[in-house]
Every structure is written in structure tokens, then in C-alpha cells.
């Protein structure tokens, strides 16, 4: 009798503690109304640290309210996966619109999300460039140079990383844009990915491999990431702008399902609107992203030299179509990258 009593007491206490803890944590993180979660791709860490500070100040001035913006960073696809699995992002700022569209397909974002913000939800755009060792010993100037001789290339995994996908698409597009056939493009990327010894899961990981672990002759990466590396490397690395590259479109979106649930819609909308203000546009340029507003971009031609950018539509119907064709299971990437046995 005594053991029955004790065991019931214990079980009951345990249950109470557990429930209290869980419900406590459910509404933790401060007040939901005053906190936003921005789920972003890998290299934008420094950018959003700065932007968030600015936004918090501006929001306080306009509405008199305190707000806190939390960040999560990782490979673009990994982040989309997390949001799908329940990470309660108020805002997603991912590397490819196809990643964001997955959320729309699953009902987390309105299907017309792209039209809700100016410039098809594109406050800034970017591109893919090369980083080489000091003196450019392998003389890499353009896309065809990447498959010359013994060049070894560092770029992330196209299955998981925005940078990875864009490197692939830029390489593919470079061939098509110059008049090559689809087969020629296929052969080119097959050759290219044979020379990649490591497939990191995100842009930052690839940077670590190239810079810290000192692997590879050239890194194919985001323009902003390349500049960041050059600054840190103090002369040991150089940036090379190929004559043509892809126009990357990291579109931004509000996650309707989450903001409705958390009651943060107004704040999230304010955040996204903020990204189009002059202040934010200048910050983009400062961190080597290309602001959508032409007049701001014109002021920074040294940092952001003009480059011939082709859009995704030069070789695919849309970002979604490209995702399906190249990166889905058994897509082009899978077929050229199978293990060798």
C-alpha cells in the first residue's frame, strides 16, 4: 500500500513538473509580441546583426515600442527544413526563392508572397564570384579556367546550400549564355564537380575549408562572402570577378502562419518594409550586397563593380523549375555526381 501511494505521488509530481515546464517554455522567449525571429541563410550573419540594430532603433522611434529580433543562420535548404518542421520564423530571408516557395506550397506562406513587396520581394540581390590565392597562381579569370589543368575547387553542397545551388546554376548558365548546348553544360559541370574535394553544407563552412583548412585553389562563393574573406585575409587572398555570372535573388517573405499565431504581423511587416528604406539599402551596400534601388547602387561602384548578370530565366522557366530539374532527387546534379563504383 505504501509503495502504491508513493509511486502515485511521484508520478503525479513528475507530471506536474513536466507540464509546468513545458507550458512555461511555450510562452518563453519574452513576450511574443515583442520578438521576431528572422531565419536566414548562412553568410548573412554580420549583415543582419547590423540591420537588426538599426531596425530596433527605427522601430522604437516610430512606434515607441521595444522590439527584439533573433537570428538563425544555416544552409538555406536546412533552414527551410527547420521552418517546415516547426521552427517559428516570423520572417524568412533565404537564398533562393525556391526554398521560400516550399514553405508556400506547404501553406505556411501565402502563395502570392512575391507580389506583396516591392520589386518582387527583392530588397537586394547578389551574385557569385571567385576567390583565389595571392597572386592568382593558376590564373583563373573566367568560368572555362575552372576546368583547366589541376585546379581544385571549393564550393558547398548544392543540395543543402544556397551558395551551392547558385554556384552550380552560375556555372551551368555561363555555358548556356555563351551559346553552349545543354550537353556542353552538362559536361562542364560534371568536370567541375569532379574537382571539388569537399562539399560543405553551407557557405560559411566552405569559407572555413578554403581559408582555415587551406584546401583548394579557388572558391566559388557569394560576392559578399568573398569580400568578407578578402578583408580578413590581409592580402593572402584575391577576388576575381568573372565576366558574366548569375543574378541571385534572395527574396524575403513573411511567414503568414507563424505571424498570425504569434500576433507579430504588424512588427514583421514593419521589418520587411524597413529593408527598403534608404538606411537599409546603404547598409546592404556596406556589406557588399547589391541594393535594389539603382541610385544607391550607383554610389558604390567601387565596392560593387558592374558585372554582366544573367537571370535564371536565361536557361530555366523559374527558380522552382530549376530546383526541380537540377536539385531534386535524380535530378541533373544527382546524375552527374554519383559515387564511382
Amino acid at each position: 500500500m505504501k509503495t502504491k501511494f508513493t509511486s502515485t505521488v511521484l508520478a503525479f509530481t513528475g507530471l506536474i513538473v513536466l507540464t509546468a515546464y513545458l507550458s512555461g517554455c511555450g510562452s518563453s522567449g519574452g513576450n511574443n509580441n515583442h520578438e521576431l525571429l528572422n531565419v536566414s541563410y548562412d553568410p548573412t550573419r554580420e549583415l543582419y546583426e547590423e540591420l537588426n540594430k538599426q531596425f530596433v532603433a527605427s522601430y522604437a522611434k516610430e512606434t515607441g515600442q521595444e522590439i527584439n529580433v533573433k537570428q538563425s543562420h544555416g544552409g538555406s535548404a536546412a533552414q527551410a527544413r527547420a521552418v517546415l518542421d516547426g521552427l517559428e520564423a516570423d520572417i524568412v530571408t533565404l537564398a533562393l526563392p525556391s526554398d521560400t516557395d516550399v514553405l508556400a506550397k506547404k501553406g505556411l506562406i501565402d502563395p502570392d508572397w512575391e507580389k506583396r513587396l516591392p520589386n518582387e520581394s527583392l530588397p537586394y540581390y547578389s551574385t557569385i564570384v571567385f576567390v583565389v590565392r595571392k597572386g592568382n597562381p593558376k590564373n583563373i579569370k573566367d568560368w572555362p579556367d575552372l576546368i583547366e589543368g589541376e585546379v581544385s575547387i571549393i564550393t558547398p553542397n548544392p543540395k543543402t546550400s544556397g551558395n551551392g545551388k547558385l554556384s552550380f546554376l552560375a556555372a551551368w548558365g555561363a555555358v548556356i549564355k555563351r551559346g553552349g548546348s545543354e550537353q556542353a553544360a552538362r559536361d562542364y559541370v560534371t568536370n567541375l564537380y569532379k574537382r571539388v574535394p569537399v562539399l560543405d553544407s553551407g557557405a560559411r563552412g566552405a569559407t572555413t575549408t578554403f581559408v582555415q583548412k587551406n584546401l583548394g585553389d579557388v572558391q566559388i562563393t557569394w560576392e559578399n562572402e568573398a569580400h568578407y574573406e578578402i578583408e580578413e585575409a590581409k592580402g593572402q587572398l584575391e577576388i576575381i570577378y568573372p565576366p558574366i555570372s548569375i543574378k541571385a535573388e534572395p527574396k524575403v517573405a513573411l511567414v503568414d502562419a507563424n505571424v498570425k499565431k504569434k500576433g507579430t504581423q504588424a512588427a514583421a511587416e514593419a521589418y520587411l518594409k524597413y529593408l527598403y528604406t534608404a538606411e537599409a539599402q546603404e547598409t546592404f551596400a556596406k556589406y557588399y550586397y547589391r541594393p535594389s534601388q539603382e541610385d544607391v547602387l550607383k554610389k558604390y561602384t567601387e565596392r560593387l563593380p558592374p558585372i554582366d548578370l544573367f537571370s535564371i530565366s536565361s536557361f530555366a522557366e523559374s527558380w522552382n523549375a530549376a530546383q526541380q530539374k537540377f536539385f531534386a532527387a535524380d535530378g541533373v546534379f544527382d546524375s552527374i555526381y554519383l559515387p564511382k563504383n
Binding site: 515546464y21 517554455c25 511555450g26 522567449g29 538563425s72 544555416g74 518542421d85 516547426g86 563552412g205 572555413t208
Partner: protein, 298 residues
Amino acid sequence: MEPKPQEPAVLVPARSVRQDPWYVRWILISSALLLVVFLVLVPLINVFCQALADGPGVYWAYLIKDANTRHAIGLTLIVAPIAVIMNLVFGVAAAWAIARFRFKGRTLLVTLIDLPFSISPVVAGLLFIVLFGREGYLGPWLQAHDIKIIFATPGLILATAFVTLPFVARELIPVMEAIGPEEELAATSLGATGWQMFWKVTVPNIKWGILYGVILCNARAMGEFGAVNVVSGRIIGQTDTLPLRVEKLFQDKPSASYAVASVLTLLALVTIVLKAILESKTHSPSSDGPLQEVALRE
């Protein structure tokens, strides 16, 4: 007859009269030492060298000034102890059931307890996502009640508790089996109630085993990376534990990463020192009895 003089309570056999030839000895010893030096000691030293490469002042700054690192330290200090306590209670209960009783399915239970030890952490994390994720079995119910498990602290605790589940139990089962139930039987037959027997007889006997298991469990809990990585959501300043912070810093600022890594390494060193002390205590003649040292060797 005289009682047998108490031998030192150590089971190491006396040195053999015929030693191995000295050159054999020295070859073996030096190869062993070299292995340990290159595999263990040098990496250990490397952590601290890299951490202090920028100077001790900067090292301190990385640990204390960075709010996100401070938060990671705090988060780890919440998540790990809770997981350890959960597994401690479980470990004692399981060891009692398994060591003292025989029942159908006992071996299966032991195998199941060991399972988390050999599951890849990625798979472990996936287990929880399939259950608690938005698209998981319990997802909609959790969403409706605004209970956050994964991508929040409870998920971190669950993942950590899962991967460190076997440690205390696996430590206590052989201990309790080796000690044997005689004392407890004696206590019960003398009229002690269950709880009296537990606190006054069982616990003192297994206290070193408990301590040992808790130390190992804690070391693993504080250092867990894989499973936590999958369920954490990587929210900076919110769901980044110390090992996750090490990875993030490695990508952003390697010397800061080493600073944080050195904290975890110090913790590991403290763990093995404590373990060594515990072992020497149980081998000393003043320990609780001849049965102890049989039990406490893994």
C-alpha cells in the same frame, strides 16, 4: 584459527618473479606512451595553445564579453544537469529492477537501454522531429496548445537525455549485481520498510557508482553536438548550446571557437580527474569492503 589477514583490497596480481625481458618492456612501454602522446596529449595541448594564441586577455574577452557565448554557457548549464538528473532517477530505478529481479524480457530491456548509445545523433534528432515536428505525429496537437518542444529548450533537454540515457543505468547494474542483495534482504527481514532500506542500505553501497555514472553522464551531456544540432533550430542567443557555439565560432572566428572549446576541454579534464580520484578511493583499504572494488571496475 586466526582470521585471514586482510589483504590490500586491490586485485592486481603480485609481480611475477620472471619479468619480461627489459627490452621487451621498454619497447612496449614507449610505443604505448607514444600512442597516447600523439593521439591524446598533443591534441589536448593544441586546444589550449590555439585558445590562448591571441593572448589571455582576448581569451577572457571571448568567453565573457560575447553575450551569445555567455548565453550558450548558461543554456548548457541548464540543459545538461536536467538531463543528468532525469537519467539519474531512471538509472537507479532501472538498476534496481534489473539487478535485483528476474523477469521476462529483462535482456530485451537491457538491450533497449543500450540502444541510444549506438544510435547516430542525427537519427536520434530525426526521431524527435518525426514525433514533435510540425508535420510529426504530435505536431498539430502541440501547435494547437502552443507547447514548444523541438526548436526550444525542452527539445534540447529531451535530445540530450536520450543520448545519455544508458550512462547511469549501465554503471549501476554491475555494481548492484556484484554487491548482491544480502544486506538489503537482511534489512527487510529485520523490519525495514522499502524506503528505509533504500536510503540506509542501498544508496550508501552504490554511492560511488552513482557518482561515477553522473560524472560520465554529465560530461557527455555537456558535450553533445549531433542530436542537439538537429533539434535546436540554431537560434543565436537562444538555442545554441556550447558545442553548437564551438561550431558556429569555428566558422566565424576560429580563435574564439578555441576559447569556447577550451572550456569544454577543461570540463573533460575535471571529469577524468574526478574519475581517477573516485577509483583510487575505492581501491584504498579504507573503502567499504572487499566487494566494492570488484564492482566498480567497469
